[in-house]
Symmetry: C2
Subunit: 484 residues, 2 copies
Amino acid sequence: MDIESTTQANKGGIFSRLGNYLKALPGNIKSKTINFTRSIEKIGKDDPRRVIHSLKVALALTLVSLVYYSRPLYDGFGVAGMWAVLTVVVVFEFSVGATLSKGLNRGCATLLAGALGVGGQHIATAFGERAEPIILGILVFILAAGSTFFRFFPRIKARYDYGVVIFILTFCLVTVSGYRVEELFELVHQRLSTILIGGAACIVISLFICPVWAGEDLHKSVASNIEKLANYLEGFEAQYFHCSEDKEKCEKSVLEGYKSVLNSKASEESLANLARWEPGHGHFRLRHPWKQYLKIGALTRKCACKIETLNNYLNPEIQSSLEFKCKVEEPCRKMSSESNKALKAISSSIKTMTDPSAAKIHIKNSKSAVEDLKVALEIVSLEDNELLAIIPVATVASILGDITKSVEKIYESVSELSHLAHFKSDIEPNVSPEKPPLLHRGIIKPVVDIDNTVDQIEITIQEITADSPEKENAPKNTSGHVCK
Amino acid sequence: MDIESTTQANKGGIFSRLGNYLKALPGNIKSKTINFTRSIEKIGKDDPRRVIHSLKVALALTLVSLVYYSRPLYDGFGVAGMWAVLTVVVVFEFSVGATLSKGLNRGCATLLAGALGVGGQHIATAFGERAEPIILGILVFILAAGSTFFRFFPRIKARYDYGVVIFILTFCLVTVSGYRVEELFELVHQRLSTILIGGAACIVISLFICPVWAGEDLHKSVASNIEKLANYLEGFEAQYFHCSEDKEKCEKSVLEGYKSVLNSKASEESLANLARWEPGHGHFRLRHPWKQYLKIGALTRKCACKIETLNNYLNPEIQSSLEFKCKVEEPCRKMSSESNKALKAISSSIKTMTDPSAAKIHIKNSKSAVEDLKVALEIVSLEDNELLAIIPVATVASILGDITKSVEKIYESVSELSHLAHFKSDIEPNVSPEKPPLLHRGIIKPVVDIDNTVDQIEITIQEITADSPEKENAPKNTSGHVCK
């Protein structure tokens, strides 16, 4: 009886659950469809090039399928025509660099492995019919083991990984199938020509229909990462010193933008590797110094790390001396705002590919703010301040000082890029009479040395220029200010 | 004359350069060969599993080639036998997870696309011979565009990217070649069975001959990253307070180990994605909480960021007040050494898969050191200290305090992992009489709550345990000490 009743109860449970599930099904399907449509929209809107890329791939595939499909060509290529389809599917990548890299890797590897395979076949047949399979087996084993090991070399991995895979593949197919198909050369020729058709279709479509350049992406991503740091500093200043009514600056999205910078290494490195395969395009020459972007990226990440540490001090739970905060506020705000301005100038100089010298004055100002801080600290009377409450504020000041140093390093690195990539100079041919000519010369002196350029730039007019920009850029207290 | 002489000089130049080049050639070749051999040795020694992996791939390829090579099987499979070779080359990856992921993706995608392709063919033939190519073209275009767009979904990208590629490939091949080869089902059957042979060879060899588990790699990498942070703190303490004669601790390699932690996100995420495909192995069950490792990894990187900021203060150029340094040295060293010990305990608890409660006492000690620092700061007489020289030391103390907080968060996250993954408990059944039982209970009280476990653990015996471990762990001044 007990068992029966439980079974019945279970059955009732199952049925009621099934009923509930079926009742909820239309709603579930509806909400899932809505979510799905939304995520499709989001992915398309985030980067419309994705939609175009999908259409490009479809176009290339349809074209190549038709080649395989049309009778006269099919009679020429045989089953090998499918290699053209296969090539398009695996070679067509999002950026031109990736497509070129894969296409060239595939082409060269097939050529090399085809030649080696034919050679291996000849050697194997020389040993007689019995020994042939053994010799071929040994050849395949050695080549496969050696090539697979090669893939662990970091350099090979970064640039020729796909080529090595195709090398092993083609070598195996040619040596092993050569025993079957009598017309070995015919096979190699067929494979090569079909791969050529597929690869050429990919490269042509990827190059000429709305091309996506890995190099341009790298360029923009480095510039926007620097801008994210600048935005953070702006937001930090506004929030830490409660000096802005502008709530936009303190928004979470602005204050968390720097976090994506911290993990940018992998994507930047892969973009730089792909960019090397790309021909000159737009403002980028063939041998654009892509490596320099990696250096800038590394410095940007270092600075983002300091910002991550700084970010802890936005926590309102940390008790800090308001009195002391007011005393160091001016130099701290100046360090922050000048670093912010310098970063913005650097970022926009990368974006517009002009010389970053506009950032120089801000870096100089931020340095003088570090000196101001020292002066301010010297005259602080310590008796009436509790050291414990001073320390969080002092730490913020100290990290801000570190950030100014970081910004200077970023500037130096971008100057080097500007020199290597021949960025446009900012020099206006006619100096307007209102501007003090000495100041002007101090700012835009072009970089001439190849190595360690910036270290050797002398600012001979420090005393003359030191005052004017500071007055301009001195923080203006707004209504929300604490020290009032 | 002039022209002739320059040409001759040029010729002489070319010949002499060629001569020099030829003279230097044997030496160059020799040195390059030596370098090459060394880098092979290094890559092999860094991870001997790489050599084994290469041999495994070669074994799988040779076996499958022989299948393709032997007459009876060849007669059965036809040219489709080469799909087995192709499958081995592209599916066999370094870790079991990657191989399984690629193999299953390939198998399922081929099955699905094969079925859809046959369906598409039927639909197309229903429209009559003339409309057939157009219908097929449209089908290929829509499927290719849709699938390519799908690859941009982050979730699909992470786990099923390869499957989508193979889906497009197979669909195109089946629909388009179906027009040619009359026995469409025969073709699909051939392709599937050969892919099965290739895939099965890869999976069996990768699973049973010295398997490389992505999950285990992730587990070890998370543990070793935490250890790197611990080592840095040890080195920092030794170098900043000049308290150790042990030069090993201050070595550059130890102090720079944390830098690799900063960029560990990409590799950890890919390992976690691959680990999910792996069956249970060793101490890891099938549904091991791999996601939790990503949380621990993120916290570890945050801590590494703070260390990056701290690292600037090892710069000997920064002038800091020695007197003040001596006053805060004890709590600072205690924060550093207790955090270091806690991190080491956490790391070893991950490695041995035991409960991390051994770290708890160190975290408690580091927290009490933060309190000690506050006390020390309160009694510092400020008049005789210059604030400017105090600030760098105060910043170090402040960042060390942040690091203790970070370490606690790492501990909490590892406790959660320990709970989710059912790590062995540390409790010894027989408490030895020498140990104070209360202290013992305080340390190893097992974690029972599911969420936010650590927040709710009460240490009821704080007063009793607070002293003894501190005395044990108090810093011992060695001969190199500054404050002496």
